[in-house]
Subunit: 447 residues, 2 copies
């Protein structure tokens, strides 16, 4: 069915006239109708709006060429990102009646590129730790990860071809890994946060969840680039992100110490299997040490997140304390109690760590770690642990997570590739090279 | 005497062989010998080192061409910027024995470009508000401004051709304005702070104090550009900063409301006189409104400064409280008492203000204000008020201050030109155009 295609494949079909945007959308809507009761991926489905968009885009095709590879491609938007006219609850009853009047910059860029904005995908409340109701398509008793829970589940279950997520700790990589799809967390500031409900302005990264590295790159190509409405947006000139062939196999840094000590056996085994495959393709592995500043990173990451989170929630929290779920409540309370010096020292640590971690790339193109400590947990009461992802959110470095294999329990296991500062373009090329060798070709059995 | 030349003029003489680096240095050292007792500009004069540098640079010239327009030019370095092997007291007894082993990035770039590093210029303690002993060359009973007090006084009195300063509130613009020279505060992140003692990492801007716009641009050309050792350093590719002819007279935004209400008569009068001259050159003036967020800016600027300052001083303050002068002490104590949420909200305000202030540039090339509220105060007990400069430090926008005229009391009055984000290159061209029309040609009478 076309709803299971990659964006790259679907857009070729659309460009050649073999697939129409309306047909593709109908396949997605049918899939949603069949599975949404079980998966619970959507906070708001804009059925009518999407049909109208697909109709307009289809007409436009009759008279010319596609606007971009996203022309007619149905995409889900995490429910913290404004879509004009659609509710933006941020996963909370507090904001249930809020309907933004403008698109987040990334949404308006997707729209201009011809994407069909299908609706809002479920997020954990305010993109923090309290789980949402979404289930993992591989096993509905398991968490899909969070906070981009609905985005990951929707893409993995064939409801849309890709979806937007965001990461402050591990909220793109973890759900992508748990659901067996590709997650791309770009460089901090690469994708505008204008019109995105914040967790922490020094840590928030919007990025795509997709079915292939190429698809993630196609989306990044559209949403990346300076946004004058976001003063933390990078001012770098536009880059070309679509994967290109490598001139030589990659030299990959392996960080064992922290990651192997904290991963379960199924994750270390999946990582070793991935390495063995990549080695057959010619990849070279070098063990790489972490800088000293890594040791206090998780504490410092949490300090920044709770302090900036509390600054955003402050008034709202005083008015609606009872509607705050326990995880978010303790996060806000921790931030409200913190001193400015504690927070400023954490920020100073973050700035210094961004330099220190660069030493890890001295002799390698990218770093490789397991993407998560464990596969998706057998619970809907926790979205899992972001510990393997927050070091890269903290450093603002780009990452790509790639599914590797199914663990003995039938859940996906993934690796995480990390690039040096601002390196999305070469990182995506390397990830594309790895993806071909890993040959992941599984999808959840959902009938 | 060659010590009174601009860098541009001196470098032409050096390139053509009419002036030797050793002769130029000797003229500066003679001037220092004659005036330092009265002016007190130098924390440490590296007489021997400078003579050796000038000798080497002179030899090098015999066999080839100058390294840059800075080849053989004696420059002073604010005593918070590391020069390998020279004391770096940061204006405080606490650090009197500290001798860094490496050059700050900006110092090493100056050195590579052929500048003669003459020594360390006096700063207020830790570049904050408590006055240093430096006197204003125009009237030694008046403050030279701060915190780059020695840099401004040294350049204005002919002791060196330019000097490095830094600005967190108004520490480049104010001393430059009070001493009748040109001050350039670049975009935040344009000049590396690696090896510079911080006040506040979201507000600190190193930049040159010089005798002309062209000289300031010559220095910026050398010190600007990404520094991998400073993770807040801008990643933009190198730009060309040297002034170029304008294609049309500038359209200048005039901000009257706040600035005219807080400037004394001599400053508004100097500003009006400057405008009248610029109008004769064809400049157009448009009155521009400030965004609403300007209103709370000064409070928010102070919050960020005291919180980040306290984070740096924390341990040092506990150990050396008695050696802290009263201004710095109250600044640190205010920061130690602040909550994380107060600081995070101030940072959020800063981020939002950076966007809001861009509306002021919608119809104009630059903004113009008086550079300071008053000319140099008749006291050495205060370095004056940074209120007119901190809005631009806060926004991270580039500014150039230009002396306009002598007030009836015989002290310089200056205007401040402000450019939109990242606009040093066009701003310097516009400032150069203004400078020629203003025709400032005064120097203090020091015999």
């Amino acid at each position: 069915m076309p709803n299971n295609l990659t964006i790259a494949a679907a857009s070729r079909e659309i460009a050649s006239g073999n697939l129409s945007p309306k047909t593709l959308l109908k396949a997605c809507l049918d899939r949603i109708d069949a599975l949404e009761d079980r998966i619970k991926a959507w906070a708001f489905l804009d059925r009518e709006g999407a049909v109208a968009q697909a109709g307009r885009l289809e007409k436009e095709l009759a008279g010319g060429t596609p606007r971009s590879p996203l022309h007619g491609i149905p995409i889900g938007i995490k429910d913290i990102m404004y879509v004009a006219g659609l509710p933006n609850t941020a996963g909370s009853s507090i904001r249930k009646d809020f309907i933004p009047e403008f698109d987040a910059t990334l949404v308006s860029r997707l729209r201009k590129a011809g994407a069909v904005i299908l609706g809002k995908t479920i997020t954990t409340p305010f993109a923090c730790f309290d789980p949402a109701e979404t289930c993992n398509p591989w096993n509905i008793g398991h968490t899909p990860g969070g906070s981009s829970s609905g985005s990951a589940a929707a893409v993995a279950s064939g409801m849309c071809l890709a979806a937007m997520g965001s990461q402050t700790g591990g909220s793109i990589t973890r759900p992508a890994a748990f659901c067996g799809i590709v997650g791309l967390k770009p460089t901090l500031g690469r994708v505008s946060v204008h019109g995105v409900v914040p967790v922490s302005f020094n840590l928030d990264h919007p990025g795509p969840l997709a079915r292939s590295v190429e698809d993630a790159a196609i989306i990044l190509q559209v949403i990346a680039g300076h946004d004058p409405s976001d003063s933390l947006s990078l001012s770098d000139p536009p880059l070309r992100y679509l994967p290109e062939p490598l001139s030589r196999p990659p030299r990959i840094g392996l960080i064992k110490e922290y990651f192997y000590a904290h991963a379960d056996d199924s994750m270390t085994s999946a990582t070793e299997n991935a390495m063995a495959l990549l080695r057959t393709g010619g990849a070279e592995f070098v063990e790489v040490d972490l800088p000293k500043s890594f040791d206090s990173l998780h504490q410092s990451h949490r300090t920044i997140m709770v302090c900036e989170g509390a600054a955003y929630h402050d008034d709202l929290f005083r008015q609606h304390k009872k509607e705050y779920p326990p995880g978010l409540r303790s996060l806000v309370e921790e931030g409200l109690a913190a001193s400015a010096v504690t927070y400023a020292k954490a920020r100073r640590h973050q700035i210094d760590y961004k330099l220190d971690i660069q030493s890890a790339f001295q002799n390698v193109d990218i770093l490789l770690t397991p993407a998560t400590r464990t596969p998706a947990l057998a619970t809907l009461d926790s979205t899992g642990d972001p510990a393997f992802n927050s070091p890269w959110s903290y450093a603002g470095l780009p990452t790509v997570s790639l599914p590797v294999e199914l663990t003995p329990s039938g859940l996906p296991a993934a690796i995480q590739l990390v690039g040096p500062p601002l390196s999305e373009a070469p990182l995506l090329s390397t990830a594309h090279w790895c993806e071909k060798i890993l040959g992941w070709n599984e999808s959840p059995d959902l009938h």
